[in-house]
Structure formats: structure tokens, C-alpha cells
Amino acid sequence: MKMKSMKKVVGPEYNLGDKIKTNVYAVGVAMQESVYPHTATVFYPRERKKMPDNFRGFILFDPDKCISCFNCSFVCPANAIRMKEAPNKRYYPTVDYGRCIFCHFCIDSCSGGALKATKIHDVAYKDMDAMFTPTEEMIELPEIIREDKKYVEYEIKEDDLHLKRTKGEDYLFVEVPPPKEIPMVSTCIDPGSCIGCRVCADVCEHGAISASVEDGGTLRMKIDTDECTGCGLCVKECSMQILMLNKLERE
């Protein structure tokens, strides 16, 4: 196969006039900048850069919304999230910031909206062990000494970067509206395979699943669709994997 014509990449050629012109321009820019500089530095402790609302920073946790579904720890690509048992026998996430890569997959995967993103990016730890953050420390915002009097935004005007400084403190916690809930309900897809272990009834927090013995001595589990919140705990715990979450169809 014959190769097509090759093109050699060469740098642009400048004649003497162009060289003098570019040199004079460069020196002019340097002089102009040293008199009126477009300094792009943010004086960090005294002022803060305004981060976008979807900034991926420190992760906050709301135990009331957590359903202990373990999704966050399953999805975590860095294995930073471990579930730990709380005194109320529930499992809550803990984050090891020595491992966390701030991908926020956990927040995306959280079904109850219990994990929340903040704009905090400057938390200091004494050593690697202290970077392991237990659940209790994730509920409140970490203690931050705010020295900043202004916040800074970058603006690009006429191909140049400009800083826009505004007085006041930037908010670090973003209030996100709660996710739109799709009403779900747990249903048994194959009642014949049920072994009657009653794990689903034990795990249900709302008492929606009850067991009853039928005439023939067979155990029958019943799901009360009005009480069921569609949290999916029973689906996860079912040893025969015959429970499934379905969209609740109300008339």
C-alpha cells in the first residue's frame, strides 16, 4: 500500500520585522502588566474562591433519610465508604477521606437523599488515621474558622481572566431540593418459593409485612401496600430474592 503524501509540520517562519514586532509587543505587555496587573491570585484565608453549586466537596449525612441500603458503599470505586453499625442497630456509612476520590457516586446513588454534597474543600487532619470520618462527624458541618471577608469569581472578558470580588461570606452548604419520590411498593413475585423465614417482616420498619398461617398449615406473608414506603429493605434482605420493588399504581 502506497502511503499518501506526508506533511511535515514546521514552525512558522518569522522575518526580522515580525521578530521585532513580537518582541516589542511582549515587552509592552510586560510593562503594562507590571503597572496594572491582572493578578489572578486569590488570597485564600482572607478571601475564598466562589465554587459552583455542584462542587464535589465534603460529604454530609442525614441519618433520618438513610434506609441502610448499602448502595453508597457498593458503588464507591475507592472503597472509602464502610457501613458501621450504629447503637440503634442500623448500618450507617462512614467515609475514609484518605481514600475518597470525591467522585460523589455515593451521593448520586443514595436513594433516600441522605448524603449531601457541600462546597467545603479545606478540612485538615492531623494524621492518616484521623481522616477516617465516623458517621457522627458527618452529620454536622465540620468546624471551619472563617477568615474570609470576600469571595472571588473568575470572569473571562476579551480573552483575559478577570477577578470579581464581592464582599461577604460565600455559603458552603448547598440546599438541594429533595429528590422527586417515585412511590414504590414491595411485591412478592413468586409466593410459591417463599420459605417463610420472616426476615422481611423483621426488617420492615413500618410493620407493613405480616405473617399468617393459612388453613393448610402453610405460612403466608402479606404486604400491606398502604403501610409500605417502598424503602426496599425487604427486597435486599429476602433470602430467596423473590421480593421486588414495583411502581405503586394508585387509581
Binding site: A26, V27, V29, A30, M31, E33, S34, P37, H38, T39, A40, T41, F43, L161
Partner: protein, 365 residues
């Protein structure tokens, strides 16, 4: 005894720096014993040149503040801030003072393989070659030693700087220092020849090498009479100081710090200011050769200090431009530096020499 003192006083009083502004103050001094002798001694022109300008005081102040000015200006040109946190309301002026305090209390480490006596001697001796050329540099009309061969002597003494840098590298006995030293030697030959030819061109142009006479013959500044030689001299000075566009010997990215890689503490502090010392002397030389020395509109009340003022202003202007180059130009490789020195600069220096000859011939005709 009194006769000796009187004859000494006569020589001292005959060559005083006259400052009309402080003369009423000086007239009231005889009431205080001894002080008038001391003031007269201080105002004796050679001692004034040695201790105040262009000597220790102005030189030392420029060593103290020029690293700051350089870093600040380059920072602004590159959208940074430069030194900021130490006395931040003044923009970090005393940065080098803080640094030198740190240098003072830091241990000077002499490693096992170093040539110990030379390793410790060279940094301290290198300060001497900064002071020696200052004896021959006039600020206005004030000069410590007036000789008709001043420019040649200054050039010869400035050429001692690379010798000391070679000394650092040799005494360090380290591979980085060795490579840096070889590069310094290469660069030295590349810039020194065009540099000296440019200076000779100006000596030919003025017909003298006495700085005071040179200043008086520059009714038109030398930079207009011979811009080519001025350009060559300026680039040569930039290469000689070894600052950013030409920091080939101590290239941080490749050789850590080149010849002074093994130094620490106050020894490093003295080497750190070496290029500023060299820059100060070369800027003073450029002021004398091309910008008319201390000549300028006389300022009422300052007397002889008027010349000193213009000299310092011009020198600092050249020095700032010299150090601002690092904000504008990217750095050169060794081969590019050598090529620049041996071909375009050498040719331009010879063209400058020819221009000088033509100007001299035209004047004679």
C-alpha cells in the same frame, strides 16, 4: 602632631562633597568637638564614594531590595503576586531581610567530599570582588579612585566573577556543580568577547576611558550614538548576571542550582546576592558608557548629590530592565546561548565597533 592633623584636614577639606541644603547644619558643627572632623571625613569624596554612593550603602540597599523588586515586578507581569505575606500591607518589602536572617541562623553544611578551605572561603571572598570595581565607578563627580583606565579596570575586575563561580563548583566536588561549572565556563567565553568589544567601541567613540570625561562628552547619550553596541552590551550584561533567560549555569530544572548546589546557610546567602552584585556593577557601567553617567538637570539644593541622584536613578532603571527580562523571555538552552553569543552578538559587536569608528571619523571631518 597638630600639624599632621591640620595637613590631613586640608587635604580632606579640599575635596568635599558640597551639599548646599545641609550647609547651615554643617556650619553649626564646630561647637561640638570631634564631630566636625568625622563629618568632614565622611564627606571627603573618596570616602563618600566608598561608603555611601556607589559604595556600601547604595550597593547594599540595592542588594537588599532588588531581589524583592525583581520578584514583585515579574510576579505582576505573570499575573502572580510575588512576595506578599511578610509585612503584607507594604507588599512584603522586607522579604530578603527575613530570608537573610534565616540564612544567618542556618547551619553551613560542608559535605564530606568538599574541599573544605576553598568551599568556605570562596563565598566570602566573592563579596570582595563586588566592592573592588565600585572604587572606580563614579557617581556624578564623586569617585574613589580616578584613573584614565577605569573602564578597563572595571571590566577586568568584573571578569573575576566567573572565576569565583568556577571556584564554587570546583570546591563543591559534586556532579551537578561540575556540570554547572562547565556551562558557566562555556557561557563566559560566549558573552565576554562581544561584551568587551562593545565597551571598547564606546571607549573609541569618546576617545577616553575616564568615566568622568566620558560623562562630560555625552551631550548626546551613547545609546543614541551607538545603539548596536548598547544592545550587545545589554544582552552581554543579561548573560553575565545569569538570570532567567540565560540561567544556563544554574538551571533549576536540570542541575538543581548548578555551581552552588551544595551551599547552605549564610554562604548560600552570599552566593544568592552574587548575581545582583554583578547586575549592579554592570548596570552602573552601562549608565556610564551609554546613558551619560550622573549627568542630568541639576537639582537645586543638592549640589554634588544631584549627580549621585541621576546616577542611581539611571542605574536602577537599567537594573530593573535587566531583571524584568525574565518575565518576558523563555530560557535558552546551552547550545542556543552559545550560538547567540558567538554568532549574532559577535557580529553585532563588530558592527558597533564600525559605527563608532564612523562616528569618530565624521566628527574629525
Amino acid at each position: 602632631m597638630m600639624e599632621i592633623i591640620n595637613t590631613l584636614m586640608e587635604t580632606v577639606m579640599s575635596n568635599q562633597v558640597s551639599i548646599p541644603l545641609i550647609e547651615p547644619m554643617l556650619d553649626s558643627l564646630p561647637e561640638i568637638p570631634m564631630l566636625q572632623y568625622m563629618v568632614a571625613f565622611m564627606l571627603w569624596k573618596p570616602i563618600f564614594a566608598l561608603l555611601i554612593c556607589p559604595g556600601l550603602t547604595v550597593g547594599g540597599l540595592s542588594l537588599l531590595f532588588f531581589p524583592w523588586i525583581e520578584r514583585k515586578l515579574c510576579g505582576r507581569a505573570q499575573w502572580r503576586v510575588g512576595p506578599h505575606e511578610i509585612v503584607w500591607w507594604l507588599g512584603g518589602v522586607i522579604q530578603l531581610l527575613a530570608d537573610s536572617l534565616r540564612f544567618l541562623f542556618q547551619e553551613v553544611i560542608v559535605h564530606k567530599d568538599a574541599h573544605r578551605p576553598y568551599f568556605l572561603q570562596f563565598p566570602f571572598l566573592s563579596f570582595m570582588i563586588f566592592l573592588l570595581p565600585l572604587l572606580f565607578i563614579p557617581a556624578g563627580t564623586i569617585v574613589a579612585i580616578q584613573t584614565p583606565y577605569a573602564i578597563q579596570i572595571i571590566l577586568a575586575l568584573v571578569c573575576l566573577f566567573p572565576l569565583f563561580i568556577l571556584g564554587f563548583g570546583w570546591a563543591s566536588n559534586s556532579r551537578f556543580a561540575y556540570i554547572g561549572t562547565v556551562r558557566e565556563a562555556f557561557m563566559y567565553f560566549a558573552y565576554e568577547i562581544p561584551f568587551i568589544i562593545a565597551a571598547i567601541a564606546m571607549i573609541i567613540l569618546y576617545g577616553t576611558s575616564d568615566p568622568l570625561l566620558m560623562a562630560s562628552r555625552q551631550s548626546i547619550p551613547g545609546i543614541i550614538l551607538n545603539p548596536v553596541a548598547a544592545l550587545v552590551f545589554f544582552i552581554g550584561a543579561a548573560m553575565a548576571t545569569g538570570r532567567m533567560p540565560f540561567e544556563i549555569p544554574d538551571s533549576d530544572q536540570e542541575l538543581c542550582a548548578g555551581p552552588h548546589v551544595e551551599y547552605s546557610g549564610i554562604a548560600f546567602g552570599l552566593i544568592y546576592v552574587l548575581c545582583y552584585e554583578k547586575g549592579y556593577i554592570l548596570s552602573a557601567l552601562m549608565t556610564i558608557l551609554f546613558l551619560g553617567g550622573g549627568s542630568g538637570p541639576a537639582i537645586a539644593g543638592l549640589g554634588d548629590l544631584s549627580g549621585v541622584f541621576w546616577f542611581v536613578v539611571k542605574t536602577y532603571l537599567v537594573l530593573t530592565t535587566l531583571f524584568m527580562l525574565r518575565a518576558v523571555y523563555p530560557r535558552y538552552r546551552l547550545d542556543q546561548g552559545l550560538k547567540l553569543g558567538w554568532s549574532p552578538m559577535l557580529v553585532m559587536a563588530i558592527i558597533g565597533l564600525a559605527i563608532s569608528l564612523v562616528v569618530v571619523a565624521v566628527r574629525v571631518i
